[in-house]
């Protein structure tokens, strides 16, 4: 039997209206969906304290370097104390201060300066050995004579350094 277009359209409308509005799945689909989602980050993680410590160390290091570079006093010949201060093991040694100042003279030829600095270190090392021995064995026999000789050697060295300064000036020698 053939239906008219009006009869077909009304049947379709009735079928659509009768269709269910929702459908419950046959099983729980949420576990599969949850496993594909990335966890949301909240609060401190494991690496954040390490990063904070590294940043703090860097800041402290920068502060230390800049404070050292801005220091007005350069290291002395022996690299221990500033050049304007006496570098002797004995604080009241004016000869050592004079020697330090003379060795910093830019007019001193490099070859002579190298020889004098190396011998200055020998004298300083000898003084250190004597001071060390005196501290441990103040009654060590024969030390007085050695101390006297070293003081004389240092005084002679000072006169040599100053003479070398004068003689290294490329003019008529006095």
């Amino acid at each position: 039997m053939t239906r008219t277009p009006d009869e077909t359209g009304s049947r379709l409308v009735e079928a659509v209206q009768a269709a269910p509005r929702s459908q419950v799945p046959g099983r729980d689909l949420w576990p599969e969906i949850a496993g594909q989602l990335t966890p949301r980050k909240t609060g401190w993680t494991r690496s954040q304290p390490l990063i904070a410590a590294a940043v703090a160390c860097l800041a402290i290091g920068v502060w230390l370097v800049t404070s050292w570079q801005l220091s007005p006093e350069p290291p002395g010949i022996l690299g221990r104390r500033p050049a304007t201060r006496v570098q002797s093991m004995r604080p009241e040694s004016p000869s050592m201060a004079l020697i330090e100042r003379a060795l910093h003279d830019p007019a001193l030829p490099p070859s002579e300066r190298a020889v004098l600095v190396s011998n200055y270190r020998i004298l300083d090392h000898a003084q250190g050995a004597i001071d060390h021995l005196l501290a441990r064995h103040p009654d060590a026999p024969g030390l007085g004579g050695i101390v006297v000789q070293l003081e004389l050697a240092r005084a002679r060295f000072l006169s040599v350094v100053e003479e070398t300064q004068l003689q290294s000036n490329p003019r008529i020698l006095p």
Binding site: L123, Q149, S168, L173
Partner: protein, 308 residues
């Protein structure tokens, strides 16, 4: 054809080749050394003579004439010789222009009366003096010093130059001062005082020394010679080694000590501990009749007394 060189390298090589071929056609004008000839015909028999030269060399020869002669060469036209003679004092100077660099150096040869009172001062010029009988003072910074003489007063001072000293008058007084230059002293007589920081001090040959004071900080000291009646010999070092070699049976008293070094004695007894609980070795003994006195002291250097 493809070459391994880039265009820039090609250009540089070609330029170098052209410069090398054209060089002899356009020589660079080099500073010429000027010969020196100067004579002072009449001087006192024992004048004061002082010589100053920065670089090059100074050779001084004693002769029997009462005259002074200077020969040699000036390093360049920028240097000139200045000679002043006033009241028996003769001053010889090589003058350099102010702020001079890369000095060629002048080489002076000066003949002077043998009994002159000589003083030579240089910076890097070597000093060679011979046949002198008066007083000799030689000072240099880095030049080497060689002295053959019978002078009765000798004073040599260097920073890094080496010192060679041969001979002296009987009962001469010799003073050597060095920082790092070594000193080799032979056949001298009389009294000697030698001091050095790191340079070695060696006394050998036919020594007739009655007083010796030899001091170093780290340089070695070697004395090879006899000890004389009423002689006094003092050798000290902080860390250098000391070698004292004398006749097999010297007539002397020996006082040897070291704080942390060692003592080796082939002339007599062995050293003993300075203190039961502290550091140091002592050697105190008499050999034969104690006419002479030998004192050797070190902080950490080794000490060796040896027979010939």
């Amino acid at each position: 054809m493809k070459t391994p060189f880039s265009p820039i390298t090609h250009s540089l090589l070609l330029g170098a080749l052209v410069a090398g071929l054209a060089g002899p056609l356009f020589p660079v004008r080099a500073a010429r050394a000027s010969p020196i000839r100067y004579i002072l015909p009449h001087v006192r028999p024992a004048p004061h003579i002082s010589i100053r030269n920065l670089a090059g060399s100074v050779t001084v020869r004693g002769w029997r004439q009462d005259a002074l002669r200077i020969t040699g060469t000036l390093g360049s036209r920028r240097e000139h010789l200045s000679v002043q003679n006033r009241d028996g004092r003769i001053r010889i100077r090589v003058a350099y222009p102010e702020y001079a660099m890369n000095l060629a150096g002048s080489h002076l040869v000066v003949d002077i009366p043998a009994a002159s009172r000589l003083a030579v001062k240089t910076v890097s010029a070597d000093i060679d003096a011979s046949r002198l009988t008066g007083t000799v003072r030689l000072r240099t910074v880095s030049g080497n010093v060689l002295l053959h003489s019978e002078a009765h007063r000798i004073a040599v001072k260097t920073v890094s130059g080496a010192i060679g000293l041969y001979g002296s008058a009987p009962l001469a007084r010799t003073r050597i001062q060095s920082v790092s230059g070594g000193a080799a002293i032979r056949e001298i007589q009389g009294r000697i005082r030698a001091m050095s920081v790191s340079g070695a001090i060696h006394l050998t040959g036919h020594l007739r020394v009655i007083r010796a004071a030899l001091h170093t900080t780290s340089g070695d000291i070697r004395y090879t010679g006899p000890v004389f009646s009423s002689g006094r010999y003092v050798l000290t070092s902080v860390s250098g080694d000391i070698y004292f070699r004398t006749v097999a049976h010297p007539d002397a008293r020996f006082r040897i000590s070291t704080l942390s070094g060692s003592i080796v004695n082939t002339l007599g007894p062995r050293p003993r501990r300075a203190d039961q609980y502290g550091p140091g070795w002592i050697l105190d003994f008499v050999s034969g009749v104690p006419h002479a006195f030998v004192k050797i002291r070190s902080l950490s250097g080794g000490i060796s007394l040896q027979k010939p």
